[in-house]
Symmetry: C3
Subunit: 302 residues, 3 copies
């Protein structure tokens, strides 16, 4: 058993292994998916609202044959003051083999150091990490370009509060891709690896452009410009898209604010891999879950 | 694949086909229900609170063998500003074959014009339509009277804001039944087909009396009378029920405000088909889901 | 079919029968759990927030092979004014064989007197009863001490608002255990059977110490002392734990307010059965559900 907390905790070999397994799942017929005994349980503990990630994990779990317990913080006894550690140990005592957790607090999982009887999959920790999003972005890039090394990937927008930006920038750099970072000055993030360039340069040079969602819910004050201004200054307008390299693609972690980060017409344009990313997400989460629950694996030190 | 958005979009033949299939499901033993491969997914997206309709659809889906994803707007990322179109396309990308949607906005489904890879079943759009409620009402009437043509059906109460009133009045009129409409003047609805009569006349003439729930949540201001006054003036009192025709029946789409729309003693009286309607609802939703997902069917133009 | 509403409604024989069956489930392998046909439905209706009890019931239901419908009052049409009776009858009409209900109103189940076609399992009614918590506490004590008769069990803390206190004190007394009660004067409860003693005496004399959770949500005013004061005066401090009898054990119904009812270090100490109680809870709920749904059983008079 292992945890999947930060993508950077995994070796290159482990990352490529998960991607291979995800590609394998994409080729299997539905009848071949179910691999877990029907009595095995997995719990999804979401302390922040989510549709896509929760449904994606739930689908992955059900396709592998797991029974699923869903918890959203609004209807739970989280209000009763229980620690996250006790909640996770309770899930283990109830019989869960794994918990998938999304939590607003960066690094929440450090509290789970001694919960060794159950696998923990991080579905997003505040502005920290989002490892399965990173994996599905890698899978999408790999399907398109085969080799990640040497690719130029632009990550544009809310660099400060986006866990996707952090996870992607770190793992892409490590795997040999060249990362370009761009976005409003007030949202820049010195901690991310990559070259700071203008939005126009980033879009024109990149093989893949990842437009980040504005994390309205994490900003303490309202954005200093209108949505239209943001779109014109930092968004993927149709004009900018027209200047992309011939084979380059558009990605977005979702959900999209149409007309803000990206022109609405681009969401389903030929370059866009938006819905393909979502499809890949299910396969990556199946592979991730299977990876954490492999026999003989030691619990990872947090 | 087809959508089920407004009952009036279906031909008479299609409506009777769904009713036949629902009756067929009611005769099958539970072991014979499961018809879908266990890996198929259906999502329920409820943007308004609901117990009965959501559970009814969920039961129908599970009995047919589908895996079910449940979404309620309170715990989702609907707050993150994603369009309904993008949410539905996301469900499709995740692997869902159908989505069941309840939404406060009348005609919300017009936004889904191009979401052709997934079947959409309307579980209620604002004060618009509620096609499966219409179908279960037809099924209940058909079980009782065999032939809908020539039946007299009274629809009484909140005609303005009830999607049940609209769906039922339209489909019953089309299928040859005679519709009587009654209720408070301030809630009248000129758009509905049917004869306007007094509450007493409606109840005395009808073969079936459908008492509508007061849609408190859709009224902008509080009701101008007390619940007791409403009951005496427009409700199904015991006195009025005593003047019903010998074989006539009582129906209500639920949930009931006991003592308001209907005397509490009448809910389970011999004439009442209230809980039978709920039972029929599951069968009708099984048949509806099966109908939308039939092979070879073309997506319906919205 | 039977209801499980108050533990005191069951005969000693019935209680020991459920405990035996729960122990039996704990010995079975997962493949042997599933006993219900996959088309059978059970609904969980939770009108109060809950993680552990809802998940515990849901796990028990799924392990027995039931399909599960989950309802939480925040996202349901409970707001639409439907009576609990009508909701339960609706669940029956939809096809559920049993409903598990948690509700803030003590004795809510008296309203369900005539809902005879569906089994009702009480998962907690206000400050009333919590029969499956009582059963899992009995199971935990029985596993430890084999015989309940003659055991000394201390129940300490919020005696007034704890349904666990009431259920445990009554059933333990009836089965021949000796109950010691202790806690703040303002939370004393004359209705409970047992000897009133000081916290120190209770802890020093008991074979098992049950520390109650402070029911913040049921108290009308804030506690008159700080959490630290409560811990020092009424909590299980490390000092008090050191004076426990050699073989005595620590229990808590959860969720724990660490450092208040119990020192944080004691939660997983050798004496603690906290997570074992949770494990036992799933087995007890499997046995309880099976007990209520046994053929040939008559509905219980409420």
């Amino acid at each position: 058993m292992a945890n999947l907390l930060r993508l950077n905790d995994l070796s290159d070999l482990e990352i490529y292994g998960i991607l291979d397994q995800a590609n394998h799942f994409l080729k299997l017929s539905p009848d071949e998916w179910q691999q877990a005994p029907a009595s095995e349980l997995v719990a999804n503990l979401f302390y922040e609202p989510s549709t896509r990630t929760r449904f994606s994990f739930e689908t992955a779990e059900k396709r592998l044959g797991y029974q699923v317990l869903n918890f959203s913080s609004q209807t739970s006894s989280a209000k009763k003051g229980e620690t996250l550690y006790d909640t996770v140990k309770t899930m283990e005592a109830i019989g869960c083999r794994a918990v998938v957790i999304r939590h607003p607090q960066e690094g929440y999982y450090r509290e789970l150091l001694n919960a060794n009887g159950i696998a923990v999959l991080n579905a997003g920790d505040g502005a920290g990490d989002h490892p399965t999003q990173g994996l599905l972005d890698l899978l999408t890039l790999q399907q398109e370009f085969l080799i990640l090394e040497g690719l130029t990937v632009a990550i544009i927008g809310d660099l400060r509060y986006s866990r996707v930006a952090r996870t992607d920038a770190e793992v892409l750099t490590r795997l040999g891709a060249h990362v370009l970072l761009s976005g409003p000055d007030e949202w820049k993030n010195e901690a991310l690896p990559g070259d700071r360039v203008s939005v126009d340069e980033a879009i024109e040079r990149a093989d893949a452009v990842i437009m980040l969602r504005i994390q309205h819910e994490r900003h303490e004050s309202a954005m200093a410009m209108t949505k239209e201004e943001y779109h014109q200054r930092y968004g993927l307008t149709r004009e900018r898209a027209a200047r992309m390299k011939p084979e380059s693609i558009i990605m977005h972690p979702g959900p999209i604010n149409r007309g803000v980060e990206m022109d609405s017409d681009l969401v389903e344009c030929e370059r866009s891999r938006y819905f393909k990313q979502i499809r890949n997400g299910v396969a990556v989460r199946m592979a991730s879950l299977q990876w954490t629950l492999q026999d003989g694996r030691k619990p990872q030190i947090i």
